[in-house]
C-alpha cells in the first residue's frame, strides 16, 4: 500500500542513493556511453527532492506525479523521458489503486517500454525493472534479486541507446541505467522491513 508518507520517504531514500553514487554512475556511463548518467540523475533527483518538499500532495499519485515532472524537466538525455514516463504511469496507476504496489511498478515499466521501445535483454534499465517486478508479483523480491538483475546486464550486448554504438564492446560492462534503477528498488525494499 502506498501512502503519501511512505512514497515520499521511499523517493528520498532513492535520491540519497543516487547522490551518493553520482560519480559511480557517470564512471559506468563513460565506459559504454558518454559519461553523464550520474550528473543527469543527480540534477533530476535534486529537483525531485525540492518538488517533494515544496509541492502539496493529497495522495501518493500526486507525489509520484510531482516527482515525474521534476525528473522529466531536469534529467535530460535518454534517461529523463524514461524515468519521467515511468513515474507518470506509476502515478496514473496509483490513482486507480494505491494498494497494489506491483501493479504500480508494472505500469512504470510499461511507461518505459512505450517510450524507449526496449525489450528485456537489450542492456537497458528494462533489464532491472522486468525481473524485479516479476519477483515482486510472486512475493519473492529480495535485495539479491535486484543485485542479480544488475549483474546480469554485464554479459548482454547493448542494442538500444548510446551503448549500442559499441556493439560487441558493450559486453562485459554494467548498464548505468540498470544500476540507477536498482537504487529505486533497493530504496523501496528498505521501507518494507
Amino acid at each position: 500500500m502506498l501512502t503519501v508518507e511512505n512514497t515520499k520517504a521511499w523517493l528520498l531514500r532513492f535520491a540519497e542513493k543516487v547522490e551518493a553514487n553520482k560519480a559511480h554512475l557517470s564512471d559506468l556511463d563513460s565506459v559504454i556511453g558518454d559519461g553523464d548518467h550520474g550528473n543527469n540523475m543527480a540534477r533530476g533527483i535534486k529537483a525531485m527532492q525540492e518538488a517533494l518538499e515544496s509541492k502539496e500532495a493529497s495522495d501518493p499519485a500526486d507525489v509520484l506525479k510531482n516527482a515525474s515532472m521534476a525528473l522529466l524537466s531536469k534529467i535530460g538525455g535518454a534517461s529523463g523521458p524514461l524515468y519521467g514516463s515511468a513515474f507518470l504511469d506509476m502515478s496514473k496507476q496509483a490513482k486507480e489503486d494505491a494498494s497494489d504496489v506491483s501493479a504500480i511498478f508494472r505500469a512504470g515499466l510499461s511507461g518505459i517500454q512505450k517510450r524507449g521501445k526496449a525489450e528485456p535483454g537489450e542492456k537497458t534499465m528494462v533489464d532491472v525493472w522486468h525481473p524485479v517486478i516479476k519477483a515482486l508479483e510472486s512475493g519473492e523480491l529480495t535485495t539479491d534479486t535486484i543485485t542479480d538483475a544488475v549483474e546480469a546486464t554485464k554479459p548482454l550486448k547493448a542494442t538500444k541507446g548510446r551503448a549500442s554504438y559499441l556493439g560487441e564492446r558493450s559486453i562485459g560492462e554494467l548498464d548505468p541505467g540498470a544500476v540507477s534503477s536498482s537504487y529505486l528498488f533497493e530504496a523501496w525494499l528498505e521501507g518494507e522491513d
Binding site: G76, A78, S79
Partner: protein
C-alpha cells in the same frame, strides 16, 4: 583540463548569455529557458526548431535567423534538452503556420523532442518532426539505435530554412526533409577526444601517434583506430567510405561540407578540403557547392568530418538562397 570557464555546471547558461549579448540585434533568449529565438519573426512562415545537447557550437543557436532556424533549444553539454524546454522553443517559434522539429538521431534527443511534440499538440500547435541520421560510421541495423545525426544536420537547417522562407507549407517542408535526409551522408575522424567541463577529462584517450575513424560528436567510438595519417590519406579513406555509401554514378550532383570538430585550425581544414578535391577529381560526380568551417563541433575535439549531399530538383538553389544568421 584547461578551459576559460567559471563553474562547470554553469557553462550552458553563461554561454547563452554571452551569445545573446553578442547577437542581440538578431536573437533573444526566452526568459527562464535555454531557448534562443529570432527577433524578426515572420507571421505565416513555417517555423523550424532544432537543438540538442550543448557543445556543438555554432550549432544550433548560431543558425537562428532569417532563412534558417526560428529557434534553437540547448541542453546541458552533450545532453538532450528536456521536453519542457523544447516545448518552450516550439511555443516561441510558432509563427502560425506550424513547427518542424529537426532532431539529430540520438535516443535521448528523439524521446525528449517527441514528448515535447505531444505536449505542443495538446496545446493546439501543429508540429512535425524530422530525424537526421547522416553518420555512416554506424551501421543502420536493428542492433543499434541507428545512424547518428552529425554535421549533415546543418544542410537540413539551410535547405529547409530556405524552403520555409519561400512559403512552403508545414507538410511540404516536412516532405522535402524526408526526401533530403536519406541523401546526406557524413563520416569523421578524431585526433583527440572532447573534454566535457563537468567531467574534466577527455571522453577517451588516443595516444600521441593515434587517431580514430568514425568517432561520433559526443566521443562515441568509431570504426577503426590507427596510427596518424596525412591529410591526403585521411581524405582517401573518408571519400572512399562516402563513395561506397552513395555508389557514385555519372553526372550526379553533390554538395560538400568539410566540418571542423572544434580544435582543428582552419588551416588544416582547408588543407584537408584540398585533398578531398584531389580525390574527387577521379570521380564522375559534379560538386555544386562546398563549405568549410566549424559548423557542428564537439567542444575541443581535434578532427574533421566530411559530408556529401546528393542533389535533386532545386536543392542547390535552396542552398544559395540568402540567409541572415550569426554563423554562416
Amino acid at each position: 583540463m584547461k578551459k576559460i570557464i567559471n563553474q562547470p555546471s554553469q557553462v550552458v547558461d553563461e554561454m547563452l548569455k554571452g551569445f545573446v549579448y553578442a547577437n542581440d540585434e538578431r536573437v533573444e533568449r526566452v526568459p527562464e529557458t535555454s531557448v534562443i529565438v529570432r527577433k524578426d519573426k515572420k507571421k505565416g512562415e513555417v517555423a523550424l526548431v532544432s537543438g540538442g545537447g550543448s557543445g556543438h557550437e555554432p550549432a544550433h543557436a548560431g543558425f537562428v535567423g532569417d532563412g534558417m532556424l526560428t529557434a534553437a533549444v540547448s541542453g546541458e553539454v552533450f545532453t538532450s534538452p528536456s521536453p519542457d524546454q523544447v516545448l518552450e522553443g516550439i511555443k516561441a517559434a510558432d509563427q502560425g503556420a506550424g513547427v518542424l522539429l529537426i532532431i539529430k538521431n540520438y535516443t535521448g534527443d528523439v524521446m525528449n523532442f517527441e514528448m515535447a511534440k505531444e505536449l505542443a499538440e495538446a496545446e493546439g500547435i501543429e508540429v512535425e518532426q524530422l530525424v537526421v541520421d547522416d553518420d555512416i560510421a554506424v551501421e543502420d541495423s536493428t542492433h543499434t539505435a541507428g545512424r547518428r545525426g552529425v554535421a549533415g544536420t546543418v544542410i537540413v537547417h539551410k535547405m529547409l530554412g530556405a524552403a520555409a522562407k519561400r512559403g512552403l507549407s508545414l507538410k511540404e517542408v516536412k516532405e522535402l526533409g524526408d526526401k533530403l535526409v536519406p541523401n546526406i551522408k557524413s563520416i569523421g575522424v578524431a585526433m583527440t577526444a572532447a573534454t566535457v567541463p563537468e567531467v574534466g577529462k577527455p571522453g577517451f584517450t588516443l595516444e600521441e601517434n593515434e587517431m580514430e575513424y568514425g568517432v561520433g560528436i559526443h566521443s562515441e567510438p568509431g570504426y577503426h583506430r590507427t596510427s596518424i595519417k596525412s591529410s591526403s590519406e585521411i581524405a582517401t579513406e573518408l571519400v572512399g567510405k562516402l563513395k561506397d555509401a552513395f555508389e557514385f554514378g555519372d553526372n550526379e550532383h553533390y554538395g560538400l561540407l568539410v566540418n571542423g570538430l572544434g580544435a582543428t585550425p582552419l588551416m588544416e581544414q582547408y588543407i584537408f578540403a584540398h585533398d578531398v578535391e584531389k580525390q574527387l577529381e577521379h570521380e564522375p560526380i559534379k560538386i555544386e557547392f562546398k563549405k568549410v568551417g566549424n559548423l557542428m563541433t564537439s567542444l575541443d575535439m581535434n578532427g574533421v568530418s566530411l559530408t556529401l549531399v546528393k542533389l535533386q530538383d532545386d536543392w542547390a538553389d535552396l542552398w544559395y538562397d540568402p540567409v541572415h544568421v550569426t554563423d554562416w
